[in-house]
């Protein structure tokens, strides 16, 4: 949740694990020129589970991002991520869209679930799997 200075990263929206859309390769946005909030809205709705993280699934650049990736990986569901360090406008819009001050941010079916602490706690209680599988809300 700490905010290091932005770092240069190639734009990417990665799909992981490799079996889902794009076979694990970066997948381009349909309209990267849309306003940032609109891009955020489309991204978070583009996968059942979507993560705004610092870095990539292969190379997370923040301990909290690494932790949520580990948790989501353990669920064995497809998900997509976007590296907020690669695009300052998305980093700003992501905070506004979720009304949440920090990254990582986890979305399930387009709905903001929480950051590292909340996702860790939900995972430990077993509630995260139910939420992701659609058996429970909020």
């Amino acid at each position: 949740m700490n905010d290091e200075s932005p770092r240069a990263h190639p734009f990417r929206i990665a799909s992981h694990p490799a079996a889902v859309t794009g076979n694990g390769r970066p997948v381009g946005e349909l309209e990267p020129d849309a306003p940032p909030l609109e891009r955020v809205k489309r991204m978070v709705g583009s996968a059942g589970v979507f993560l705004f993280i610092k870095g990539t699934p292969e190379e997370p650049l923040c301990g909290f991002s690494a932790n949520v990736l580990r948790i989501i990986d353990s669920l064995g569901v497809p998900y997509k991520t976007f590296d907020v360090l690669s695009d300052e406008s998305i980093r700003v819009a992501g905070k506004e869209y979720a009304d949440w001050p920090t990254f990582p941010q986890v979305y399930v079916r387009g709905e903001f679930i929480g950051g590292n602490d909340i996702v860790s706690e939900l995972a430990a209680e077993g509630g995260l799997r139910l939420l992701v599988e659609g058996h429970e809300h909020g």
Binding site: M1, N2, I113, G114, I118, E121, G138
Partner: protein, 89 residues
């Protein structure tokens, strides 16, 4: 005043019924572990509980006085249960 004390007093003032415990995770006084126990959390989703506490810390986070907060919210009942588990005497 250290940020640990600052956050402790701020949360205690904003949430008078709450038990607030703030711990310095790294020894650098800017990565804080915050436990808040209050019955105001009863029936609220976890996200709303965290939003409530974080709203009180927004200024410190915006000013980057505090870099990271590890937050745990519990009701007073579960707080007392936790205490019993940690100290079974």
């Amino acid at each position: 005043m250290s940020r640990v004390q600052n956050v402790q007093e701020l949360l205690a003032a904003r949430m008078p019924d709450a038990i607030v415990e703030v711990r310095d995770m790294t020894g650098t006084d800017d990565h804080l572990a915050v436990l808040v126990a209050s019955d105001i959390f009863i029936g609220k989703p976890l996200l709303d509980q965290h939003r409530l506490v974080m709203s009180h810390l927004q200024q410190q986070l915006d000013a980057a006085e505090v870099h990271a907060v590890r937050l745990k919210t519990v009701t007073l009942d579960s707080y007392h249960e936790r205490q019993l588990k940690e100290d079974p005497r």
